[in-house]
Amino acid sequence: SAVISQKPSRDICQRGTSLTIQCQVDSQVTMMFWYRQQPGQSLTLIATANQGSEATYESGFVIDKFPISRPNLTFSTLTVSNMSPEDSSIYLCSVGSSYEQYFGPGTRLTVT
């Protein structure tokens, strides 16, 4: 199994600002994923981040709004840019394979 940590665990931000969320894994992994979980909802995939290549974004998510970095095999960042109240959500980092997928504890973001 993989142990995943995220920073910050929660934040309250003002409209129009940006927040960068960090994800650290205790082992080297090829594929990392970023998910959003809105209040009372299930998980929605934002993008897949493979080391050494551009992130692949899902429909409804764009790089200008959610830029992702993947500088090495144990670390990734997700930035939520020009935030609005609709971006209030839990953001989750995940790593996995065909056999199992593990999640970080999440970053709870509130935009006021």
């Binding site: 994923f33 299930s42 929605t44 996995g96 065909s98 997928q101 504890p105």
Partner: protein, 112 residues
């Protein structure tokens, strides 16, 4: 379109009252079906991966089964600590590798 539907949305059980949660799926090229447990304020916790129809896996009071169209999570003699949201997800081929599609979850409440 790949889709995962879980039922019921919520389930209230008395301690010791066994029941089942359902996960119906439509996916092109199933690579695996996952079950997760999610406690409030935390990331999903991996439980099982199932790959082919007829496969079963067990962990303590939980047993997961898989058919060609659905999966069941059977909970035998549940305890209050089993109260959580149970998420089902399917993994399918996707650009760059694979993607995981989540259902909305079943919120389980077990009363002592």
């Amino acid at each position: 379109e790949d889709q995962v539907t879980q039922s019921p949305e919520a389930l209230r059980l008395q301690e010791g009252e066994s029941s089942s949660l359902n996960c119906s799926y439509t996916v092109s090229g199933l690579r695996g079906l996952f079950w997760y447990r999610q406690d409030p304020g935390k990331g999903p916790e991996f439980l099982f991966t199932l790959y082919s129809a007829g496969e079963e896996k067990e962990k303590e009071r939980l047993k997961a089964t898989l058919t060609k169209k659905e999966s069941f999570l059977h909970i035998t003699a549940p305890k209050p600590e089993d109260s959580a949201t149970y998420l089902c997800a399917v993994q399918a081929p996707h650009t760059g590798g694979f993607k995981t599609i989540f259902g909305a979850g079943t919120r389980l409440f077990v009363k002592a």
